[in-house]
């Protein structure tokens, strides 16, 4: 069951605080594969967090390398287990949308640079600094692990500028 359907708000899982992964086992590895398949299935999707497919664990995947905003500056496909942002700096506003909150877009302020630490599926801990669009994607996906949606961070809302079918 590789491609999972993306849960949409008001599904309660999207507002839950996710638990840390204690042990990387088969379930976690197949969860990561599902997240990757689901991300690749979404048109233009650059990341999916576990709660978006109904799993309340601190796992997410990100790949901005194929996106025009991220292709020049990225770390490729990131499989992130128990990710943490240990430092952040700068600030910029970008208009965001989310597959779990269709029909809404809004301006959100994010750090422009984040120091990220997470565990890889093979157990190694990786730490690096991400910036620009990749940093925005990381902050957006990691918010999902804390039950935070971009709607919680919007400074000005714009509705209906994409993919809204009707009222």
């Amino acid at each position: 069951m590789p491609i999972q359907s993306i849960l949409r708000y008001p599904h309660p899982v999207l507002k839950k605080l996710c638990r840390n992964v204690e042990k990387i086992d088969k379930t976690i590895l197949s969860l990561i594969e599902d997240l990757i398949d689901t991300m690749h299935d979404g048109p233009g999707s650059v990341g999916v967090a576990a709660p978006q497919i109904g799993v309340t664990l601190r796992v997410c995947v990100i790949d901005v390398s194929k996106n025009r905003h991220g292709k020049e500056n990225n770390h490729g496909l990131l499989r992130m287990i128990n990710p943490e942002i240990t430092a952040r700096s700068g600030s910029a506003t970008m208009r965001e949308g989310c597959m779990s909150v269709p029909d809404y877009t809004g301006d959100v302020e994010r750090a422009t640079e984040v120091t990220l630490r997470f565990t890889e599926p093979d157990g190694t801990v990786r730490e690096f600094v991400a910036s620009g669009f990749e940093a925005v994607a990381i902050q957006h996906e990691m918010d999902h692990l804390d039950g935070i949606l971009f709607l919680d961070r919007v400074t000005s809302i714009k509705t209906g500028l994409f993919r809204r079918k009707n009222y």
């Binding site: 999707s45 990341g47 669009f133 509705t159 500028l161 994409f162 809204r164 079918k165 009222y167």
Partner: protein, 185 residues
């Protein structure tokens, strides 16, 4: 059997700003069982302007809506406008175009909005949002216009900026174009 359908109306309410306008109008809508499907309400100068797209199940009539809202508006000294929407007006277009912000500002003069939007219209560039504000001093008034536009195929922020370059010179205003297409995560 008569099938109940959803009716849509565009409602506008404009008048002198004060606390309680939205509550009074939406109380009337709530009493009628209306949904507010889309809305934009803002202060313009000392006026408060509400634009609402409301929906509700038939049987219902525009007359009934006006009957409910007119006394409320009269009490507040506000002007009411109601228009019935056809079903083909209600279906919102899917926009997959690039969205751009165009900022225009400079010494106030007649025709800034007209001259800029005329150029956009000629290129079939659709305005999705437009705000203007008169700022500065009485001696040196400055006009600021912010437009959000959807670019049709073939147009880019650069092509729009290029297209407006002559106008920028002619009106002696600043014109900037930048892409703000939302990113869906």
């Amino acid at each position: 059997m008569h099938k109940s359908e959803i009716l849509h109306f565009a409602v506008t309410v404009v008048g002198k700003d004060r606390p309680g306008i939205v509550a009074a109008i939406t109380e009337g809508l709530f009493n009628l069982g209306c949904n507010i499907a889309d809305s934009s309400c803002t202060m313009l100068g000392g006026e408060f302007a509400m634009i609402l797209i409301i929906s509700l199940k038939s049987p219902f009539s525009k007359t009934r809506l006006i009957e409910e809202l007119k006394p409320v508006c009269d009490g507040l000294g506000m002007t009411l406008g109601v228009r019935s929407l056809h079903s083909d007006e209600v279906a919102r277009k899917e926009i997959n175009d690039e969205i751009c912000m165009i900022s225009v500002y400079g010494a106030d003069q007649p025709g800034i909005v007209y001259h800029v939007t005329r150029e956009l219209a000629a290129r079939k560039i659709n305005i999705t949002d437009l705000n203007t504000k008169l700022i500065g001093t009485d001696e040196a008034p400055v006009y600021v216009m912010m437009l959000e536009v959807a670019l049709p195929d073939g147009e880019t922020p650069e092509s729009v900026e290029q297209m407006l370059a002559a106008l920028k010179k002619e009106l002696n205003v600043e014109i900037g174009v930048r892409e703000i297409t939302p990113v869906a995560f």
